[in-house]
C-alpha cells in the first residue's frame, strides 16, 4: 500500500489586515503551522498503515521553510517527504498549483491512495484536491466521513453529501479529501522527533519535473489574475428601531426577507 498525503503550511493566524491607504498586507510575524485539515488526512494514512501496512509519503509545496510541516509529519509517523519549492512557482492559482503538485507526485513514485485535507485555512477553496485528481487522471471522492473497508484493489468510504450520506467504493489509484473528525489526529511524538531529526526532506524544483516549461507554472501558468485586493465593507453598523408593534413587525419581516431568511 503506497499512500501519499498532501500537506500545506499555512499562517498561524487568519487575522490578516490590509492597510486601507496603501493596500499593503499586514502579516503578524512569521508564525505558521500545518493546515489543521491536513492533520486528519495524515492521521487517516497512519491508521490505514497500522492496519494494512505500506509506506506513507508526504508532499508539500511552498517556500523553503515549509519543510517544517514535512518534519512535523515525520514526528507523527510519515516515512518519507518532499517539498516542491521554486521561485518559478510563485503566484500560482488553483490550476497552476494543482498542476505543479501533480508533477511533483509523479517524481515521488506511484501511489494507490492520495489523501488531502478537505480544504486549507488560508486559501479556503477546497479545489486543489479534485483538480490534482484531474491532472493525475484518477477518480476522487471529496468530503470523506469515514473509511469502511480497505480491499486489495479498492476502498469503501462514507461520503458526505448535503442531505444524504453515501457509501461508495472507488478503485485504486484514487484521491480522497477527508472531513475533519474522520479520526482524532495524534500529537507529534518527541521520540519520533529524535529518530527522524536527520531524515532527509527531498527538495523538488522545476528542473526535476518532466514538464520543464516555465509557462505552465506560477503566475504564467495561472489563468486567473488578482486585479486588486481591498478591505471588506465595514459591517459593524448597528441599528436600533423604535415604533409600534405593527411597524416593527413589518420592518423586521422585510429585513429578514432582504437577508434571505424568508
Amino acid at each position: 500500500m503506497e499512500i501519499l498525503v498532501c500537506v500545506k503550511q499555512v499562517p498561524g493566524t487568519t487575522k490578516v489586515e490590509v492597510d486601507p491607504v496603501t493596500g499593503v498586507l499586514k502579516r503578524d510575524g512569521v508564525d505558521s503551522k500545518m493546515n489543521p485539515y491536513d492533520l486528519y488526512a495524515l492521521e487517516t494514512a497512519l491508521r490505514l498503515k497500522e492496519k494494512h501496512g505500506g509506506t506513507i509519503k508526504v508532499i508539500s509545496m511552498g517556500p523553503p521553510q515549509a519543510a517544517e510541516v514535512i518534519r512535523e509529519a515525520y514526528m507523527m509517523g510519515a516515512d518519507e517527504g518532499a517539498l516542491i519549492t521554486d521561485r518559478k512557482f510563485a503566484g500560482a492559482d488553483v490550476l497552476a498549483t494543482s498542476y505543479t503538485i501533480s508533477q511533483g507526485v509523479r517524481k515521488l513514485g506511484s501511489f494507490d491512495l492520495i489523501l488531502c485535507g478537505k480544504q486549507t485555512t488560508d486559501g479556503d477553496t477546497a479545489q486543489v484536491g479534485p483538480a490534482m485528481a484531474e491532472n493525475l487522471n484518477i477518480p476522487h471522492i471529496a468530503n470523506v466521513l469515514s473509511i469502511i473497508e480497505m480491499k486489495e484493489k479498492s476502498i469503501v468510504v462514507e461520503m458526505d453529501m448535503a442531505s444524504t450520506v453515501e457509501i461508495v467504493e472507488v478503485q485504486f489509484p484514487c484521491l480522497l479529501t477527508v472531513e475533519k473528525g474522520i479520526f482524532q489526529p495524534r500529537l507529534p511524538s518527541y521520540r519520533k522527533k529524535l529518530i527522524t531529526k536527520d531524515r532527509e526532506v527531498k527538495m523538488i524544483t522545476l528542473k526535476d519535473f518532466d514538464d520543464k516549461n516555465e509557462k505552465n507554472y506560477g503566475l504564467n501558468g495561472s489563468p486567473t489574475q488578482v486585479e486588486r485586493i481591498f478591505p471588506p465593507d465595514a459591517n459593524s453598523d448597528r441599528e436600533t428601531w423604535t415604533g409600534t408593534g405593527e411597524q416593527l413587525g413589518h420592518k423586521m419581516a422585510s429585513k429578514l426577507k432582504t437577508l434571505k431568511f424568508i
Partner: protein
Amino acid sequence: MSKLICNQEKVNESIIEELIKVCPFHAIENKNGKIEVNSGCKMCMLCVKNGPSGVMEFVEEEVAAIDKSLWKGIGVYVDHLEGEIHPVTMELIGKAKELAAVVGFPVYCVFIGHNITHKAEELLYYGVDEVFVYDNEELKDFRVEPYTAAFEDFVAKVKPSSLLVGATTIGRSLAPRVATRFKTGLTADCTKLEMKENTDLVQIRPAFGGNIMAQIICPNTRPQMATVRYKVMNAPEKSCNQSGKITICEIDKSKLTSKIEVLKVTKKEAEESISDAEVIIAVGRALKTEKDMEMVKELAGLLGARIAGTRPLIESGFIGAKQQIGLSGRTVKPKLIITLGISGAVQFTAGMNGSEQIFAINTDPHASIFNIAHYGMVGDIYEIVPKLIEDIKSFGAEACIM
C-alpha cells in the same frame, strides 16, 4: 513570459533593507549586497508598487489573445440530488441573467442526471434561454468522472463564455475537474460577480479568512468559471409562463465509465443540536406562560429555526437544558439569531455573540442586548412577533408574476 526582475545596479544596503521590510512573505533576501528573491514569493508585486522606485520591476509579456467572440452565453450548472433541484440553481440563474444582459448573452443551464428530463421544465419558469439535458442511466448518482464528461461535452458543444456552479458538495467536487480539463480559471465562493463589456467576468471573493476581498479576472482563457454559495445571490421571481427550450443531448456511453460505485445512499436525519443550527430563536424571561411558547414555535417553524433560551427560561421548565445558550450552556454561531425578551447579560451573550446576524426585541431601550444586536427593536414581543408571523405567511402566499 512575465517576470519579476531586480535592477541590481540600483541596489545598496539601505534599499535592500527597505525591500525586505516591504515584502510580507519574507521572500526578499540579502545575498552579499545583492537582492535574491526566494520561493516564498507570491508575486503580490508589493515590492514593485511600494518598494524603492525602479528597483524591482515586473516585466510583462503580451500573451497571445484568445478570440473571445467564439465564446458566448452564460451557463449555470443545475445542482440537484435525484432530480430535486437545489435552490442555489435559481439564484445563479438570477445572477446569470443580470450578467448576460450587460453583453447581450443568452443564459443556459446544463442539467446532468437520470430521469430528470421532466424536471427541466421547472427551470423554464425562471427565464433561461436553453436547458441542455444529459439524461443517462450512468448519471444516476453523482460520480465525478461521468459528470465531468457530460459537463465537458456541454462546454465543447455550446462554448459558454462563463459558467456558474453552486458551491455545494457536488459543485465543489465537479467544478475543479471541469476547470482543470479546460485549463481555465476557477474562483471559489464568489460573493460578487460583475460583467465587463469585453465579456470578462469580474469575480470578487473574500480571502484570508474574510479579512480581505480579492477581485479576480480570467482574461485569457474561456470558459471563465466561478462557484457561489447558497443564499448569496438573488433568485429571480418565478414567472407564470415558461420560456426558452429544452435540448436533449446525446453522449457516447463509453465516455460515461467510472471507477466509482455507489453502494448505498442514506438520507440524513434532521439535526437536533442547537450548536449547529443555522437559525435560532432564543427566548428569555419576557415569556410569561408556557402556552406562549406556541407563538415562538410557530415563528421557528416558519423560519426553519431551532428554539433555545436563557438560563431562567430553562429553570422555568419551558424548554430543555440542552437548549440553553451561554457560559453554562452551549455556544452557538448561527447565520441568524432572534432574541425575544432577552436583556443580554454577558453570561448569555458570551454564548452567541459570534452569530452572523443578531435581531433583538426588548422593551428596555437600555438593555445591553442592543449593544451587540445588528438590528434592535425596542418593543414588546407580544405585539411584534404576531405581526411578524403574519407577514412571513403572506410572503409565502405570493404568486408567480405575469
